[in-house]
């Protein structure tokens, strides 16, 4: 049972395949991410990148192979415990519309049973960090916020319970280009300050080069390249070239 993530949340995909219907969504994926790194999973729609991401917090499980978080297969983790120690940000944000901004950010700390005064302090601190004035936003509802503000709340919510691992599923994909760059900058600032292991799914090569310490390029469920951004620019695989051509 239990056991939360230690500071070093290393991740590994070991021979992971995922089949749904007759489709092979992931095909023998092997990949290891050391703690504190930011891995970008880059690929087209349907390349399997979101599927891979959702295996890390046990929303999906491999048809064969193992996904390891801290050297333990997700199938042997207490899932509730695992998920509460992982921050998760998705494109649709998924804030609870009937909760205030404060309640949304406080969710995981509350589920983990933090004392109320510690939660309140944490929520205020986080809203500040993502650039939302607590006094102004705490009691508002998600529908009263702009898309960019909502996604900032989404990031604050993911960070709330001090997770060691952060998962991002095209979090900035629905935002206008200016807001998107602002949030990318904020992501980089947080990355350099918090040193959390992060997995970031995107189909935007520019975003991948900007945010990743490593880039894994997926093509039809297979890992084509795993490399640093600097190396990625020079790689000459067909899919990598196709992505570089979009720049």
């Amino acid at each position: 049972m239990g056991g939360s993530l230690s500071q070093a949340a290393a991740l590994e995909f070991r021979g992971v395949s995922y089949r749904i219907g007759g489709n092979l969504v992931l095909d023998n994926l092997n990949l290891r991410i050391e703690s504190g790194r930011t891995l970008v999973l880059l690929g087209r729609s349907g390349s399997g990148k979101t599927t891979a991401l959702k295996m890390l917090n046990g929303l999906l499980f491999p048809s064969s192979g193992d996904v390891l978080v801290e050297d333990r297969a997700t199938t042997s983790w207490d899932l509730i415990e695992l998920r509460r120690s992982i921050g998760y940000v998705i494109q649709e944000v998924g804030l609870f519309p009937h909760f205030t901004i404060g309640e949304n950010v406080a969710l995981v700390p509350r589920l983990k049973g933090w004392p109320p005064d510690r939660i309140a302090a944490r929520v205020a601190e986080l809203l500040e960090q993502v650039g939302l004035e607590p006094a102004k936003f705490l009691d508002r509802y998600p529908r009263q916020l702009s898309g960019g503000q909502r996604q900032r709340v989404g990031v604050a919510r993911a960070l709330a319970a001090e997770p060691k691992l952060l998962l991002f599923d095209e979090p900035f994909g629905a935002l206008d280009p200016v807001t998107r760059v602002e949030l990318q900058d904020q992501f980089l600032a947080l990355r350099d300050r918090l040193h959390k292991t992060s997995i970031f799914v995107t189909h935007d090569v520019r975003e991948a080069l900007r945010l990743g310490t490593e880039i894994a390029l997926l093509c039809r469920g297979r890992l084509e390249v795993l490399t640093t951004p600097d190396e990625f620019v020079r790689s000459n695989g067909p899919e990598a070239c196709a992505f570089m051509a979009t720049l």
């Binding site: 998920r83 998705i90 944000v93 998924g94 804030l95 609870f96 589920l111």
Partner: protein, 205 residues
């Protein structure tokens, strides 16, 4: 209006309300959990909704008639009427509970699971509050319909305002017909108004 009529009207209105309240309490107590169950067990949807649908489709007088010869739940009187009214009220509650919960934004549900909510927390903190307006709308429809259908229950000796209506028709006495029809209509309007007030409160929350 003669005083004896007013006295009987009060009594029958009370009977009517009790009939509706008891039926609705049972229908809600069964329909809400069953509706939640249907969101979790896809295989049960077709048979259960089908059953509720058939019950709803049988004309009310015929349903009362069908129930009379059935042992334990049948016979003449209030019990049979309540069984029929519950069967009637089931469909809107069941269907709206299912629709309300399935209507919760997939991203919100996925977030709730990914944040580490347990199944119970997901249901009570996310699904039910967000489905509440739809579920309430189902209870509202069921209640208003039950108030109407309950007037027919008098045909099998269950009492209620239908007693006036049937007696008035049999004796060609408009006063008695109206003494049953007007309070029944008022009850329906009042409960509809009450629910619409509650719905407004819930949806702004």
């Amino acid at each position: 209006m003669p005083p004896y009529l007013l006295q009987e009207m009060t009594q029958l209105t009370f009977e009517h309300i009790v009939l509706v309240l008891v039926s609705m309490a049972i229908a809600a107590a069964a329909g809400l959990p069953l509706g939640v169950l249907l969101t979790r067990r896809t295989a049960l949807r077709t048979p259960l909704l089908g059953f509720a649908n058939v019950m709803q489709t049988i004309p009310s007088l015929a349903l009362f008639g069908f129930l009379i010869p059935i042992p334990f739940i049948g016979g003449i009187g209030k019990r049979t009427a309540i069984v029929a009214l519950v069967l009637y009220a089931l469909l809107p509650i069941l269907r709206n509970t299912l629709a309300g919960i399935l209507g919760v934004d997939a991203a919100v549900r996925e977030s709730a699971i990914a944040m580490g909510m347990t199944g119970r927390q997901l249901l009570w903190e996310v699904e039910l509050p967000l489905a509440a307006p739809t579920i309430l709308a189902g209870v509202r429809i069921a209640t208003v319909t039950t108030i109407g259908t309950a007037t027919i229950a008098a045909a099998i000796g269950a009492g209620g305002l239908g007693v006036f209506i049937f007696r008035g028709i049999a004796s060609v006495d408009t006063t008695q017909i109206l003494a049953g029809a007007i309070p029944a209509a008022l009850l329906a309007l009042l409960s509809d108004g009450g629910f619409s007030w509650i719905e407004r409160r819930v949806s702004t929350a």
